[in-house]
């Protein structure tokens, strides 16, 4: 499958004074892909998103969105973009359905198109019965869904989602993921920033792991895990005082050992076998858990830090 490239970044850099928020990153996104930027707060994800949307000017490097430079063709580029910002910026002076229609007007779309489209999107966002509610009467999850519905009013080819589920409860997150998954199926290119590994694993075909403005690794979630982590992880808790010193006694078990303040991680192909070795040495962890490696482990491996502090 040879799909056209819709976003192409080359040596993209953004500096605010002394601080380099985005440091010389390059990536390409083909049409229809779901592409993730995974990294902790302050990694430069949102800044990258803003440059793609043409609302932040790059310091150097090149960036094209469907062949256009967002800096010189801002309104044209944004006509094909849907944007879900990190913080909802719904229009609280308008009602739910009015939010969709007015936003569509910003794109210069006619009301004859917007009226049925708004109803369709309310349906999609499961907000039909809230059409005439005030925005501040909606729950956090509903507001998020409305923001996503709003971003789709111009039938964008590319949807930018900046931390789409941060601050939502698990149920609201799953509803949202379901909606995003349907969009992906319908061929919309998704660009997604997140610091949730499960979100990245669920939604992204391919992702870049960013830290301090740099790309640390790139690939599909499965490839990244295979390349940068073991198949399984054994998590042990010995209590906060013992965790720090137990490392020496665990030497030689598994492929690699990571000591965190609250637990010890042993990376091994076979987690159960590793646990047997631990007990064979006479060590008695308070709790033990064998799980598959995740992107969290990849990030820890690449940066020495965890994603969510």
């Amino acid at each position: 499958m040879n799909r056209p490239t819709v976003i192409s970044a080359r040596n993209l850099t953004k500096a605010y004074g002394d601080l380099t928020a985005v440091d010389n990153i390059s990536f390409d996104v083909p049409a229809g892909e779901s592409f993730g930027l995974l990294g902790p707060n302050g990694a430069g994800k949102s800044t990258t998103m803003k440059m793609i949307g043409g609302v932040s000017q790059r310091t150097s490097g090149s960036l094209t969105i469907m062949g256009l430079d967002p800096e010189s063709h801002g309104p044209e580029v944004r006509a094909h973009l849907g944007v879900v910002p990190q913080q909802d910026n719904l229009d609280e002076e308008l009602r739910v359905r009015e939010n969709l229609i007015v936003y569509g007007r910003y794109f210069g779309l006619p009301l004859s198109y917007l009226r049925p489209k708004a109803d369709e999107l309310l349906e999609f966002a499961q907000l039909t019965d809230k059409a005439n509610s005030k925005v501040d009467a909606l729950s956090g999850g509903m507001k998020r869904r409305l923001t996503i519905a709003r971003s789709l009013i111009n039938e964008p080819r590319i949807l930018l989602l900046d931390e789409p589920t941060t601050g939502l409860d698990p149920q609201a997150r799953h509803i949202l993921w379901d909606r995003l998954f349907r969009l992906k199926e319908s061929g919309v290119t998704l660009i997604l920033t997140t610091h949730y590994m499960d979100e990245a694993e669920q939604l992204c075909d391919r992702l870049i792991v960013v830290d301090k403005g740099r790309i640390m690794a790139e690939g599909s979630p499965a490839t990244l895990i295979r390349e940068h982590s073991s198949r399984e992880v054994l998590e042990l808790r010995f209590g906060s005082e013992r965790n720090a010193t137990i490392g020496v006694e665990l030497q030689g078990i598994g492929e690699r050992l990571e000591t965190l303040p609250d637990r010890v991680l042993i990376y091994a192909h076979d987690g159960e076998a590793a646990l047997e070795q631990v007990t064979a040495r006479g060590l008695r962890p308070m709790t033990s858990l064998v799980r598959r490696s995740s992107l969290e482990d990849v990030f820890l491996r690449l940066t020495g830090r965890s994603l969510v502090d």
């Binding site: 609302v55 801002g74 309104p75 910002p85 719904l90 936003y103 910003y106």
Partner: protein, 277 residues
Amino acid sequence: MSVLTGGHSATDVARERKFGSLYSRNAKAVVGRGLMAAKSSTWLVMVSGFFEPVLFLLAMGVGMGSIVGTVQGPGGEEISYAAYIAPALLAVSAMNGAIYDSTWNVFFKMNFAKLYQGMLYTSLGPLDVAIGEIFLALLRGLLYATGFTAVMGVMGLLTSWWAILVIPASVLIAFGFASFGMGITSFMKTFQQMDWINFFLLPMFLFSATFYPLSVYPQVIQWFIQAMPLWHGVELLRQISVGSFSPATAIHVGYYVVMIALGIMLTTGRLRQLFLK
């Protein structure tokens, strides 16, 4: 556009491109949004902004006017004190309407509602937003001015058919204040800073030859007041209200034209700096 479209020089194309990231000819969407939001919002605030100058007119014009009697109008003729201050208060009314929308409303939308952020993530450019918001402020200025002119008519303070021109002139005044007000507001980050606007407006309202002629001041103070925008509005409307024009009329109008142009440049530049950095 293609090479075949005649009369499209290279500079035109370049200018279009330069303008392209600022403006998408869709300020009407911003206006539409404002009208839709107005439906459900602050009618009370709007009405209070209209009544303030009316109350001044009653208290000062009718009340004080009864001891002042007649004064000399712009053309040298004797007019009632109420007829003297009414056009000045109309200028204040237009200013208030424009300032309310372009400062407090804009301040809130910019810093709390994040409204412009959302708008600029669409096809709208900062110039669309600036024009739309300023137009809304003008609309409010027009409403206030029309209402106040009606009050003047009812009170018998309009003596010339020229007086109907005070309405478009009020819109001009509102335009000047709205375009500048929005630009200035973009620098404000806190409520305390917003208070500076009142700190500037109140003395301008009281001392811009609103209630007595400029000639009571020493020369230096006169110059200072003549540099302020409201004085030009007061003088302009006062001249129109009695149909007495002079070369100064053109200067007053010119003052506002320049103020509008500078204000729009400032506002667009600031919106770009703030949201497209």
